[in-house]
């Protein structure tokens, strides 16, 4: 009887997560010592999917960005591109510029990461009309 109940509850949980794909990205990569480790490509794909949600709302954008910046990594250009496009859908230029500042700050002492990121993002920045913090003069105090 208990086994039947467990089987039911497990399938129930699985169906819930399937119908809300947006929630899946927020499952932070767990620190297991056992079990499958998520590869970098899977991580990137998960985050790109998260930001590519066509009807993403402002809260989800903020939550996603704040969570992403909380990780010990600089996001791949494709993730930042998806986030910037999400800002465009939300008509939020200020957040787009803030995202660029944040990823530059994430690179820390590694001064070569941010120029690479901007170089990869150039097409998107031009397409959306986003100015970099350097172009606006806010990269210096």
């Amino acid at each position: 009887m208990f086994r039947a109940a467990v089987r039911l509850s497990v399938s129930g949980v699985r169906s819930i997560t399937r119908t809300q794909p947006g929630c899946q990205a927020l499952l932070a990569s767990r620190g297991y010592s056992h079990g499958k480790q998520e590869t970098d490509e899977e991580f990137d794909a998960r985050w790109v999917t998260y930001f590519n949600k066509s009807d993403i709302d402002a809260w989800e954008l903020r939550k996603g960005m704040n969570t992403l910046i909380g990780y010990d990594l600089v996001p791949e250009p494709k993730i930042v591109e998806a986030a910037l496009k999400a800002c465009r859908r939300l008509n939020d230029l200020a957040s787009a510029i803030r995202i660029l500042e944040a990823v530059k700050d994430k690179a820390g002492p590694h001064k070569d990461i941010y120029p690479y990121l901007i170089q990869e993002l150039k097409p998107t920045l031009e397409e959306l009309g986003i100015s970099t913090p350097e172009e606006l003069g806010i990269d210096k105090v």
């Binding site: 903020r62 957040s95 944040a102 009309g129």
Partner: protein, 176 residues
Amino acid sequence: MLRLTAGRVGSLVARRAAVALTTSSARMASHGHEVSEAVDMSKPMYWDRREIPLPDKRYKDILTPADKSLKEKEKGPWGQLSNEEKLALYRLSFCQTYPEMNQSSSEWKTVVAGVLYCIGLTGLVIIWQTAYVSPPAPRTFDAEWQAKQVKRMLDMRVSPIEGFAAQWDYEKGQWK
């Protein structure tokens, strides 16, 4: 008589307490403009933090008509916004840029100066204390007493192998 004094003390205490309560409440009422407004922490707050690039709410809550028209323009292509307009939009949403947030201050100099000042003040207090407050030193600190004490220790052969008396040359009558 005991009852009277107790009653008098009781009334004094009660009056003082009542006075304190009333003056504090009156003070708060009359000096309301001096007390800063308590922030409602149950609502979303804004803060500039490196690890939270997009805070819970926009920095500027109240938008002037100019701001509102700028927000309308933001809905169109961003390429049409001038740099000043883009900056204005940024400053509407955020208080400090990342470089402004991260800038260091000279506060540490003030802190070190304050610490050294307090240590110096304490030193002065201690010097004054030893001069005026401390009782005279016991007689066991006198040079004559100390000399006699050393002689006694040597006669007793205190630590004769590796310690005190081992440093004394008993034949020559001097320190080794």
